[in-house]
Every structure is written in C-alpha cells, then in structure tokens.
C-alpha cells in the first residue's frame, strides 16, 4: 500500500471530484483579510508587552545598581572610581522594598509576555 491515498478506480475519481468541487465552492469573502489583520494586531500588542516589560526591567535594574552603591566594596583603579561615582549618585531616594517589588513585577510581566509570545 502506498503512502498516498490510492485513486485507482472511477469511484475514487468521483470522490476526488466531489471534494474538489466542495473546496472550489468556498470563496474567500474577506477571510484572508481578517486573518492577516488579526495576525498584525497580535504582533502589535505582543511586541508592546514584551518590549515594555523589558524596558521596565532594565530601568529597575539600573535603579537597583544605583541603590546598591553603598554596598559596593572599595577597590583600586577604575572600579574604585566607579564605586565612588555610584555613591555620589545615590540620593537615598529609593526604598529597597519598592525596588524589590517593582523588580518582581517587571520580571513576572516579562516572563508572562515571553510565554504568550512563544505560545
């Protein structure tokens, strides 16, 4: 038995003709337009969600580095200078609890967005 459906007799040809006629009777009637529009809409909001969550996470990460400045060890060379700059930049305006919560939310949002994107 071959891998393809056998069409050896008249009955099979008649069946094939019926299936073909049924398919030929289906008009597009805006089906393609609707599908393409929905595909485009899907791209827009997913892209906004993924990039938005990514930007939020990046912002929180940068803020966290500034907040961690007092905890950075004193080191020689450029790292020492960077540590000093970060200490100067720290104005004490960030609440560590708030930063932690924001980071968790941003991370969860990003994971959810990536899961939806890959679904």
């Amino acid at each position: 038995m071959s891998d393809h459906p056998e069409r050896s007799d008249e009955g099979d040809d008649a069946l094939a003709s019926l299936f073909a006629a049924e398919e030929a009777a289906i008009k597009d009637d805006g089906f393609t337009k609707r599908v393409v529009e929905q595909a485009h809409d899907g791209i827009s909001w997913r892209r906004a969600a993924v990039y938005g969550a990514g930007m939020a996470g990046f912002g929180v990460a940068v803020a966290s580095i500034v907040d961690m400045a007092p905890l950075l060890p004193d080191m020689s060379g450029w790292w020492n200078n960077l540590s000093g700059e970060l200490r100067l930049a720290d104005q004490g305006s960030f609440d560590p609890m708030m930063i932690t919560i924001a980071a968790v939310i941003a991370g969860a949002s990003l994971c959810a967005a990536v899961l939806v994107q890959e679904r």
Partner: protein, 162 residues
C-alpha cells in the same frame, strides 16, 4: 516583518479554501469550521519559526486538526450541514446537491474515519502526514481511509440511485 506578513497573506489566500474545507468537514459546521481554520492560520503565523519546510498546506492542515480537537474538547460543536441552496442555475443546484450528499455521507463515518478521509482525500495529505497530524499509527490511518472510502462510495451510490 512587513515582508513576512505579505508572504503570509499570500499563503492564506492560496490555501484558505483547503483549510476551511477540511475544518468544515471535521466540525460538520460552516461557522465553526471557519473559526477553526482562522485559528489554525493564526497559530501557524505565531509558530512560523517552527515550520521545517515542506508542504505549508499539510502543516496548516495538521494544526487545523489539532485546533478542531481542542474546540471539540472544550465545547460541543453545533452540527449544521451546508444548506446554501441560493444558486439560481440548475448546474449549480446539482453541485449543491452533490455537496449535500457528500456532507451527509461524511456525517455517517466515525470520527477517525472522517478525519482520515478529510485529511488524506480532502486536503491531499499523505498517509504519513495524516498519521503525524492525528498522532496515530500509520497502519490505523490507512485502515480508516480504506474503510471510510468504502462507506462513502456506498452511501453516495445509494443517494444517487434514490
């Protein structure tokens, strides 16, 4: 990305009739079939990076079959035979009558036979492709096609002689 969308639109336009026909045969409903076909194309678009090449139609038909299983599992599909008899010329009426006969004959098959026939004889998938789509042994798919085809031919012959 814009090029991807344009190419996708061309593929949908080219294969929409095949995929919609398959989904209508599986669901035995025009509206549910079209919804399933639409969902299948959107799933194909989202998963386009996983397409390994080969027949796009076969790939989307396999997705449509899985969409159908998901819909059937989630909610009962309202069965409705296509009763579009609005065509005015006699030739078109005969064609409509033939399609009604085919729909009635398909409705008499069991689930696996109908799916195997719709995938292999309707959508033109090979037995191997249908077996992959149905996640069933190749031998079973071949049997379903053989049995389903015999039942269809018998039923259609009876309709024509009546």
């Amino acid at each position: 990305m814009a090029g991807d969308q344009k190419a996708f639109g061309l593929l949908v336009s080219r294969h929409q009739a095949s995929v919609r026909a398959l989904a209508r045969r599986l669901s035995r409903s025009v509206s549910d079939g079209d919804d399933i076909a639409q969902a299948a194309f959107l799933t194909a678009w989202r998963r386009r990076t996983t397409w390994r090449g080969g027949s796009f139609r076969g790939w989307v038909c396999a997705i449509a079959y899985r969409e159908f299983l998901g819909v059937r599992k989630g909610a009962k599909i309202e069965v409705e035979l296509d009763d579009d008899t609005s065509a005015s010329d006699p030739g078109a009426t005969n064609e409509t009558s033939d399609r009604m006969d085919l729909a009635r004959a398909m409705a008499m098959l069991d689930e696996n036979e109908r799916a195997a026939i719709a995938l292999c004889m309707g959508a033109g998938l090979s037995h191997t492709e249908a077996a992959l789509a149905m996640q069933a042994p190749l031998g079973s798919v071949k049997s379903w096609v053989l049995r389903g085809r015999a039942k269809l031919q018998k039923a259609l012959a009876a309709y024509q002689s009546a």
